[in-house]
Subunit: 566 residues, 2 copies
């Protein structure tokens, strides 16, 4: 029997649900409303529009075959009615109708529904700082806001910018400003690292160093207290600095638009976010919700997770569309895959970082490793750094994070683990993973296999590894015996620069020169990437040495981290 | 208790087993023997050495830190004894010793073992054709053979080459010869397509067209009967042609070296290949085997599978090393992941192709689709073609194959499915797969998600799709009504070129112009990549049309396939 579906919110989950439903039930009707006049756009493309990679804002609203997804498009191509400039005010669940208000003239009316979809997205979390209303201060809240920023850049109004917040959007905007427009860009972050909770401090430092090499200045552990200027913003005042700026991008994150759902009596999380079951149904069986206004199940912890991403919104929208038509589609949850491009490097991950895993109550451990992304004899190749987080007792993989060149090689590895995580894989599964092999694409032992090996060795107590940041703390101290187990030619610059602290025995000579290695000091072994130092660790332990550690990622990891030894 | 391990074969699985075992049991001893004097080399790198990407053959024998893996390296760095130039002649299982013969002087001796590892690799399958012994005719059997080929190229002796066999090695060698050395290269293949059994005829045609554009000439369904020349080869005689050639590369595949194991009474498959359990143990508990001389379990069919790949050899070697030391490591089998670079394109896959699935007894279906590999508004992007093979009743994914640019984007997608295949995923798992999303790396709805959607729609009978090769047959016939449902500007060149056969109604206008579409003819719908033609198919079916099909992959797929319509 034909039914009438009303959809509140027309950016990602809503349009997807509408189109899918209409394909399954062409005789039913759909009305999709939005308070904005601009609908169905790829907000994740905003940094690339601001940075100029995307030349016109309309491209973010177009299909891959260059049709703009406006009201007419949805009517003609998808059979979906759209009314924009209508704000949903109240849901009358008993009467199965929604009170809406015209944003231009304030007129109110009721819109009926058989089934309702709430896909109202998220709003920026405003910090409420003094000076936020100055010209040149922007929260990235919409495509319209992005157009204003790009106009200011095009007109040459911007020489110095400050980005507040070092999450995805903050880093992407810093890249856009510094790379394409040559703007002097500084990033202020309240925590002690970029990408907090998402990657380890060591990986964060690698990303930060690369951005610093590109000219971006970072202020970590620093809090913005106010913005100053006359008319237009002129400076950002933090609890430790004054930073000149004629553009300020506020990127402190977003919060779900779940108030309407809450007022309608639907189950909403205490910190916001509509609660839905795995069919994307709310606590009212005639109302579905999806996209940035809902919480989903974290497939690692089992807890509710807020993950506002366009990719999830689209998949949830399709599930809703199927179920509106009587189907049985399931969105079981998310593992939190992410990737962010920062200049010529990439940070990516899925599942939990070590800190997040411990915060969630896991007895977690982690390893870090550095390896070439393809056969070492193939001419084009690059180092990739991966970190694996696991539960110690069960050997279950909890997450993976990585840092590497801007190529699909890193995200390709992360995606494999992202796909496996719902199956609760153990580290052994990584060791045996069957990556397609050919020298232009992988090493015979792919870095994911090696990562599994390293994790196995760590879990079984054979590898005692230290992270680059731990290495730095040990290097600043004076208790350790640092042993470089590379060939002499590789080690000699470091020997010369640090004659007291640095020592060298090539790993192949370790047994014959073992008398040189002190038994009364902690030994810290280093090689290029960590393979030979692990081998040396095994050798020393077999000869009775007790306190031997190996620098995970080796000199390659330390260099990316920013350690200066020579 | 220390034990003595003897390893026969020192290329990939053997060295890996040796090194792993010595790390776990430093006090035990390992002797590794090989009949060749060149050990531990990356034979998969041979085409890149011949093609010049790898400048010196020694790089294929080096570690990533540039140490050559020769006998001294294994002794010093890995603690493993190596003796080369020793051929294993007979295994005395009762006496736990192996009779070996010195290849230079013929002297024989017995080598004892507590545990034995057979990692004797594979040998080329010789065709035994008249003229095979002519100069300039090479089976790719070893690094030494590759050095001879490269010398001939460097000396300018080669103007025209013939490659026999269009599998991995054949295609990689054809690429190497034509791309780097400008040699006029022709490939003779006995079956009707390149990469037989591994990819569908449509994907094979896409790869072949690309290589033809690069100047390679193909002879399919053609059998070499003899080679002719005086001293050096001058021509290849097939059952249909005579082809001039001063270099002939024979690449008909390899067979496992399992004769020694068979003579020793170990379980060996009737068509060759040592049989092992998931611990890589042979039918004798003191003898392990791994690498190109063994069969593994096909994780899709459950049947024995011969998959000679360096990547598998390495992983099997590590499992053997662990188990030699009393561990419990498992190599459960393989799904057959592969990737091959052909000029600027890549063919990759995992699991079964449609033909292989049907041959294995599955009631299998498949879909093909074309989509951009990242956000359509991102400046750098490319089309990717993927094919999914599934079991109809269970909806289980049996395999994935694809064709795309030479980047990690395609192999990244294939690897995700390769990782999932052992878990017996259903097509829905692909629809919900959580690929890390950001516009430079993926579309919000990633092509893998879309592939799942398309497969769901096909399984449920909503999508009736035709492959490019089926399209071609229908186009050659005259029963179909071809309806281009793109916008008029896109369709008009085809309308002009084929005024009788081609018709155009933009999908958004289909309902209002539906009277133009005949009810008495099969309808074949086409758009850019298949998305709009599917939408149009749903619309026509909802209006009572019975015989409507959609061109999977659209004009993009047809163009890659080589269809000429305008």
């Amino acid at each position: 029997m034909p039914q009438h579906v009303l959809i509140i919110g027309a950016v990602a989950a809503g349009p997807k649900a509408a189109a899918r439903f209409k394909r399954l039930e062409p005789d039913s009707t759909v009305l999709m409303i939005d308070q904005s006049k601009t609908i169905s756009y790829g907000s994740c493309g905003i940094p690339y529009y601001v940075g100029g990679d995307v030349s016109d804002a309309s491209e973010l609203r177009a299909t891959s075959f260059h049709m703009v997804r406006d009201n007419d498009f949805f009517k003609e191509v998808k059979g979906v009615d759209v009314r924009t400039g209508l704000k949903a005010v109240q849901v009358d669940r008993a009467g199965k109708k929604v009170l809406v208000r015209n944003v231009d003239n304030g007129k109110e009316e009721y819109l009926p529904y058989d089934k309702l979809v709430i896909s109202m997205g998220a709003r920026v979390r405003k910090l409420g700082l003094p000076g936020e209303d100055l010209e040149g201060v922007h929260y990235i809240s919409s495509l319209d806001e992005a157009i204003l920023i790009r106009e200011a850049l095009t007109k040459g109004l911007v020489n110095r910018a400050v980005v507040v917040g070092a999450g995805f959007i903050g880093l992407e905007m810093a890249d856009a400003l510094a790379d394409m427009w040559g703007v002097e860009t500084e990033v202020v972050e309240i925590t002690s690292q970029i990408m907090p909770r998402l990657v380890s401090p060591s990986l964060a430092a690698m990303g930060q160093r690369h951005m610093e090499e590109k000219g971006v200045v970072f202020h970590l552990n620093e809090k913005v207290v106010r913005l100053e200027g006359e008319g237009r913003v002129q400076r950002v005042i933090t609890d430790r600095n004054e930073i000149e700026a004629d553009l300020v991008i506020m990127a402190p994150g977003v919060v779900p638009n779940s108030d309407l759902a809450k007022e309608a009596g639907l189950d909403v999380h205490e910190r916001g976010g509509v609660l839905v079951d795995e069919h994307m149904r709310t606590s009212d069986p005639d109302i579905y919700a999806g996209g940035d206004c809902v919480l989903v199940k974290d497939l690692i912890t089992g807890q509710p997770l807020y993950l506002p991403m366009g990719s999830l919104s689209n998949r949830q929208g399709r599930v809703i569309g199927t179920n509106l038509a009587g189907g049985d589609a399931v969105f079981s949850g998310a593992v939190g895959s992410f990737v962010v491009k920062i200049f010529e490097r990439t940070l990516s991950g899925a599942g939990l970082s070590l800190d997040s895993a411990r915060a969630a109550g896991f007895d977690a451990g982690s390893v870090l490793m550095v390896q070439l992304d393809r056969a070492h004899f193939y001419p084009t190749k690059a180092l990739m750094t991966l970190e694996l987080v696991y539960e110690k007792g069960t050997r279950r993989i909890l997450g993976i994070q990585g840092f590497g060149s801007t190529s699909d090689a890193l995200v390709g590895r992360v995606n494999v683990v992202a796909g496996l995580l719902p199956h609760k894989p153990k580290v052994e599964e990584l060791s045996n993973l069957e990556m397609a092999y050919s020298p232009p694409f992988a090493a015979a032992v792919d870095i994911l296999n090696s990562l599994g090996h390293v994790a196995e060795n760590a879990i079984e107590g054979r590898l005692l590894g230290v992270y680059p940041d731990e290495f730095h703390r040990l290097w600043e101290g004076d208790g350790c015996y640092f042993l470089d187990c590379r060939e002499e030619a590789d080690a000699s610059p470091f020997l010369k620069a640090n004659p007291e602290q640095w020592h060298n025995i090539p790993q192949g000579k370790l047994y014959e020169r073992i008398a040189e290695v002190p038994k009364d000091k902690p030994i810290l072994l280093v090689c290029n990437t960590g393979a030979r130092s692990y081998e040396a660790q095994v050798q020393l332990v077999s000869k009775g040495y007790k306190n031997v550690q190996s620098a995970m990622g080796g000199m390659a990891g330390l260099k990316q981290w920013g350690e200066k030894l020579d």
